[in-house]
């Protein structure tokens, strides 16, 4: 995962390059690569000296520029490895810059339009009268996911950002839950979340639980309407373990 660029001035390496090209009053189709590379690297250095996080993409571009520069120094025809790239080593970069510039301009055009809630206003949505409506408005998968997320969000929150996703495997968690249920018999639902060390673990625990319910390895019960929710094994440990082992889990990591 890349760190965010803190320097708001440039949105990315292409943005920075366009800025340098404009500043030097040169053409995208004929970039003086030595000068631009030098200025690009100087800018990165400046960013670093100001203690700004320089995103990985900026560094990758620096390497690309230096590579192009070195290839420009070779006499034409001497360069076998990159022959399929065409004659001018700057070509791919040129194409990228032109395309990026097109969309940068398109974005500026969009910004000049009358934007709703910035320049013009419609009436605020009134609470709808749901009676007699026909069907539902379009909902997207994202809405569905957001809904699931909200369910998860109500569970205890911890900071997740530093946890690497792959560390906790769903299958491991499922086995762990089964072991715990085997040892303790009936366990109160919430108890499983108390030991979680991060929000991610909560998510994984929750999903493991749902998965176990789905394959009927565990049972969820509730004595009274408002009573605690209890979990228990739906069958002897060995049997449910086999059931878990035989189950293909959607989204499971391979080879980890």
């Amino acid at each position: 995962m890349t760190t965010k660029v803190q320097l708001e001035l440039f949105e990315g390496p292409l943005d920075l390059l366009l800025h340098l090209i404009k500043k030097n009053e040169v053409s995208i189709t004929d970039i003086p690569i030595a000068i631009i590379t030098e200025q690009y690297l100087a800018t990165l250095e400046l960013m670093q000296s100001l203690n700004l996080d320089v995103a990985g993409e900026f560094i990758v571009m620096a390497a690309t520029l230096m590579h192009i520069k070195s290839r420009m120094l070779l006499p034409p025809g001497d360069d076998e490895e990159d022959e399929e790239e065409g004659d001018d080593p700057r070509e791919e970069l040129m194409r990228q810059l032109l395309e990026y510039q097109r969309f940068k301009e398109a974005a500026e055009e969009l910004e000049r339009r009358e934007i709703l809630k910035r320049d013009v206003f419609a009436r605020s949505p009134q609470p709808p009268d749901e009676s007699g409506t026909v069907g539902f408005e379009e909902v997207s998968l994202f809405d569905l996911l957001s809904a699931l997320r909200r369910v998860l969000d109500r569970l205890p929150k911890e900071d997740v950002h530093e946890v690497i996703l792959e560390r906790i495997s769903l299958r491991e968690k499922m086995q762990g839950l089964l072991d715990e249920l085997h040892q303790k018999g009936k366990v109160v639902f919430q108890l499983f979340f108390e030991s979680a060390s991060s929000r991610l673990e909560v998510v994984v625990t929750f999903l493991a639980m749902l998965e176990l319910v789905r394959i009927r390895a565990i049972r969820v019960t509730q004595g009274e309407r408002v009573g605690p929710i209890l979990l228990e094994l739906a069958a002897p440990l060995e049997e449910v373990q086999n059931r878990v082992a035989g189950e293909k889990i959607e989204g499971e990591e391979h080879g980890t």
Binding site: F121, A122, R123, S124, P125, Q126, P128, D129, E130, G132, T133, V134, G135, F136, E137, E138, V139, S140, L141, F142, D143, L144, L145, S146, A147, L148, R149, R150, V151, L152, D153, R154, L155, P156, K157, V160, H161, L165, L170, F189, Q190, L200, V203, L207, L210, V213, R214, R219, V220, Q222, I229, I249, E250, G251, E252, E253
Partner: protein, 190 residues
Amino acid sequence: MERERLKSLLESLLFVADAPVSVNQLVEVLEGVDRKEISEGLRELQSEYEAGGRGFRLVEVAGGFQMRTPKEHADWIKRLYQGRPARMSRPTLETLAIIAYKQPITRGEIEAIRGVDVDGVLSTLLERRLIRIVARKDVPGRPYLYGTTSEFLETFNLKDLTHLPTLKEMAEMTLAQPAENEPRQESNDD
């Protein structure tokens, strides 16, 4: 400020407001305009709407002014809403999400996850054919097991259930989301 311009501004302000606007609020927003002028402007708009047979009136309500449609138009307005699909509510979507991922699932299991009663929501979803009863669970009470329908797949543009986002993608998306701070939590699990 010139009277016509003031009235046009007042109209804009009343138009966008989602609650009655008090004269005090208007005085604050229209810095430099006299309270008396504002009141007069409002009165004029009021009688213009009435006399001009416009599609709204300016009514004084709850300590402020609000634009409202005339009573005689109520039947037509209802028809506008009736002909239109409603936005799916949060409880509905959440319940649907749980069913989609965990089907077949009983009402009790859904409630265990959502922490609230889902009776009404289930009937809405059944009515809209997004879910169906697939079987009965072989446990005491033999509760219904719910699953999604082909209308569900169509709604979400899915070829089949295996095309639902996977656990990993879901985690990515949920992690990428800034947690929205819901002021009103309907859950009772904490």
